[in-house]
């Protein structure tokens, strides 16, 4: 008998399998993993006993690339490609960090443009998260509705900077283009059009009996576990922790707007279940609309958006960690400057990478079909997990 058949079976972490247990690979090619994620499931019948996530299939050495650029601005297109569903927020996070290193103040109009773009991007990103989540658990129509509404936002981005997905729009010290004529009116019209659609989504999916049965009381993440694992964004707020970097570690001009942080309340089951995380995203879209509408009212009509863009970026020696709130949570950039024109080291703390690490903790004891609901509720983008 070949030795491989007699050797004890192990998982990749070295855990010995019992006779009843079996290893199943979910992914890397699996529709519900939203990209190339491999989950090594140890199952006993239909029950998930252990989960070992394998990532790195999309690793493109962002940090190595950043060190090898000839100047700081050149890193921004790579930030775009990290979280390709929320490129604006990625660029913004990087720009904030470099501006902090330089001690740079950006013009008023730029701050407003960034807030408007960042919040539009948050809605667009949440729409994908919610639509594909419906798709994961078996509802096809909401997916189409969400993509239809996301088109409106992408059109706005396209009129502004020409790109629909990877914008390279927010630069250190400014933005690449001023708003085109008529943008404010178009954005206002979009807000007016989109607000009733959130109710439509709720009627169609959120309060759907089957959807609630699939997501309530599944993948419960208690608040203390969420904090210990460093979860952020809707993952953290879904667990009932009232914390949002836009309010609690304020950056840009978020203190000028009236809006509320949304937290999970356990309406359909337990606090911190999949439904709560889903619902936090739905409610955040409304809050983002509130912020956008206020910003569109207040935005100064005049101002050069590139007046503060430095000709040459040469920050003093030092290091800085700056974090901001992306749709998925805390995007932090740790940048070390050695006084030259390119960064000595850039570390990106990506929210989905950290959020995904809690997956083994919240999925033990559920069915395999629930795994799909749990992975979907974490809302990962593998481009950002693997960088």
């Amino acid at each position: 008998m070949p030795e491989t058949l007699t050797a004890p079976l192990k998982t990749s972490t070295g855990r010995l399998l019992r006779t009843e247990e079996m290893v199943i690979n979910m992914g890397p090619q699996h529709p519900s993993t939203h990209g190339v994620l491999r989950l090594e499931l140890v199952v006993e019948g239909e029950i998930v006993v252990d989960v070992i996530p394998h990532i790195g299939y999309l690793h493109r050495c962002f940090e190595k690339h950043a060190e090898h650029m000839t100047n700081y601005q050149q890193v921004i297109p790579y930030c775009d490609r990290m979280d390709y569903l929320a490129s604006m927020n990625m660029d913004w996070g990087y720009a904030l960090a470099v501006e902090k290193l330089l001690g740079l103040q950006v013009p008023e109009r730029v701050e407003y443009i960034r807030v408007i773009m960042g919040e539009l991007q948050r809605i667009a990103s949440h729409l994908i998260a919610l639509g594909t989540y419906g798709l994961d658990v078996g509802a096809f129509t909401p997916f189409l509705f969400c993509f239809r509404d996301r088109e409106g936002i992408l059109d706005l981005f396209e009129t502004t900077c020409g790109a629909r997905l990877l914008y390279n729009y927010i630069w250190v010290g400014g933005v690449s283009h001023d708003l085109p004529p008529g943008f404010v009116e178009k954005a206002k019209a979009f807000c007016k059009y989109f607000r009733p659609n959130i109710k439509e989504l709720n009627d169609l999916l959120t309060y759907n009996e089957i959807f609630i049965k699939r997501t309530a009381n599944i993948g419960v993440l208690p608040a203390d576990v969420a904090i210990a694992y460093g979860c952020s964004g809707p993952m953290l707020r879904g667990s009932g922790v009232n914390f949002d970097l836009r309010r609690d570690d304020p950056y840009s001009i978020y203190d000028r707007f009236n809006w509320e942080v949304q937290v999970g309340k356990g309406e359909m089951g337990t606090v911190g279940d999949c439904w709560d995380r889903y619902m936090v995203r739905v409610r955040e879209m409304e809050q983002s609309l509130n912020i956008i509408e206020q910003a569109l009212e207040q935005i100064p009509t005049e101002g050069d958006v590139q007046s503060a863009v430095p000709k040459k970026i040469r920050p003093p020696v030092g290091d800085v960690y700056v974090r901001s709130e992306s749709p998925r949570g805390e995007i932090g950039f740790y940048i070390i400057s050695d006084g030259s024109t390119s960064p000595y080291r850039v570390k990106a703390r990506s929210p989905a990478f950290v959020n995904l690490s809690v997956l083994p903790e919240i999925s033990k004891g559920y069915m395999i079909a629930d795994m799909i609901a749990i992975v979907g509720s974490v809302d990962i983008v593998l481009g950002e997990v693997d960088r």
Binding site: I227, K347, R387
Partner: protein, 159 residues
């Protein structure tokens, strides 16, 4: 708690384990400690009633060049809303830092990443495997002296 009070507190508690405190003139105030004492300091930072650093924002492995590697911990307290940065440095020929996975669970994947890309060995880590690169990848790409290999598993690297 201000970084000043915090560093005083650490100094009185750990004395010589604190190598350097820098508060003024830097963007993020930091405390540099001996790697051997890191775990005690980490537990103290998390559990002390005045500090309560329960949230590890970021953990970065760094190659400082000149034979020094480093790990930087950015900490935040959810209840007290204050921050501190902790730094350790180790020589490149013995790059061992105690793991803080027990203290903050989020360190688990961050440490695996630092091990993978910079080659820092975290002693006491429950599952120290490569995370982003393939398991058989030669070397640690974020080391400053890393050269992209011409061949990987007999295949020509196309640049």
């Amino acid at each position: 708690m201000t970084p000043q009070e915090l560093s005083e507190k650490l100094k009185t508690k750990f004395g010589k384990a604190v190598i350097e405190v820098k508060i003024n003139g830097v963007l993020n105030p930091y405390v540099k400690v001996f790697p051997a004492k890191l775990k005690d300091v980490a537990f103290f930072l998390r559990d002390d009633a005045d500090l309560q650093f329960d949230y590890l924002m970021c953990l970065s492995g760094i190659d400082y060049g000149k034979g020094t590697l480093g790990v930087v911990y950015h900490l935040f307290s959810m209840s007290k809303r204050h921050k501190i940065t902790v730094k350790v440095e180790v020589p490149v020929d013995k790059p061992e830092v105690p793991s803080v996975t027990e203290v903050w669970h989020s360190a688990n994947w961050h440490e695996r990443e630092a091990y993978d890309l910079v080659g820092i060995v975290f002693t006491g880590h429950p599952d120290l495997r490569r995370i982003l690169c393939p398991d058989d990848y030669p070397g640690h790409p974020l080391r400053k002296d890393f050269k992209v290999p011409e061949f990987y598993q007999g295949m020509k690297v196309p640049y």
